[in-house]
Symmetry: C2
Subunit: 168 residues, 2 copies
DNA sequence: TGAATATACTAGGACATCCAATGGTTGGGC
DNA sequence: GCCCAACCATTGGATGTCCTAGTATATTCA
């Protein structure tokens, strides 16, 4: 987004917090802000890799989820729960994927309320190739030390469990 | 967003990656996905805390940045660089903050291209009270172990430096 | 000095997310 | 057997982010 700054803006914010009498919460504030910024950087990389495939991250996630579904199809509310996004976001993503010929909607055989989504052949092919691209361009060189990757998975896993994402 | 899942969806995705021959990138994939989800959870908490103040996180960040500016004013391009967002996002945020009477725009005294933004009295008051709310409701109980907070700051700081956010 | 280049902000469009409200569909309790 | 609460998907509205273009101002250099 521009040239590197001479100093870390988050470290600067942390100093500001400490100087204003909020030293007790300065470190968590810095950690949370750093997560926000890291997500932004990673998302930009992912979107840039997916762009040639005509996909956004939201649509890719749905495509990938469907490609792993045993039956090849998934109810929309199930997708919403697994991807942890609002149902309307799924509706939006399916609208666009369907218009692009990558998924199909079909009524649930026994429950008239739910809609099933299923990959088309083109969708399955694109899921494969875009995943290969993400693996090669993003996940294989994420910018973390290998040891830090395990730390992150543990720390964030614990956080998500405490936040009520899952039990276990 | 719903009831807790019985299993961690990210751990599940990691297993899927390993089962499909991508074991070498499964762990970074899981870490990156966890960062995405963690950011989503934290952002929701922050937005919920800021809602009573009529602020969003984007507008709050700008307000907080201005409240720490020595001169009390900041060029828009400077704000864009420090918050690491696109210049048009700053324009958008300033539009709304200005309409709410929280900031003012004024022309730069010597450079006719740049616009300065400055807190109004109401803006300064709101910056204080909303920061107090965030400190009390989010940063004081972030959901991380104290030791993990330092780990995160170090790991993510290193990542951001490698990504070109800042030098040093 | 005058033209080419660089910088700063804004306007309009595409996309994603959430919330609130709507219209069907199910299924349990009486 | 019926009714109402719960559930599912969609629509419309608000916000935010980025991108591309366009306009205006500065700076550089021939």
């Amino acid at each position: 987004m521009g040239t590197p700054l001479s100093r870390d803006p988050i470290a600067e914010a942390r100093r500001n917090w400490e100087d204003h009498g909020w030293a007790d919460v300065a470190a968590p504030m810095a950690a949370i802000t750093a997560i926000m910024r890291t997500q932004q950087i990673l998302l930009a990389r992912i979107e840039s890799t997916l762009k040639p495939f005509g996909l956004t991250f939201a649509r890719y996630e749905l495509l990938a989820l469907l490609s792993f579904a045993r039956k090849g199809s998934l109810p929309m509310n199930k997708a919403s729960a697994l991807l942890q996004v609002h149902p309307t976001s799924i509706t939006n993503a399916v609208d666009r994927l369907e218009r692009a010929g990558l998924v199909d909607r079909s009524p649930h055989p026994t429950d008239g309320r739910t809609t099933l989504i299923e990959l088309t052949t083109a969708g399955r092919t694109l899921a494969k190739s875009s995943t290969a691209a993400l693996n090669a361009e993003v996940f294989s060189a994420p910018g973390f030390d290998p040891g830090d990757v395990d730390h992150l998975i543990r720390i964030l896993g614990s956080f998500r469990r405490n936040a009520g994402d899952f039990e276990e």
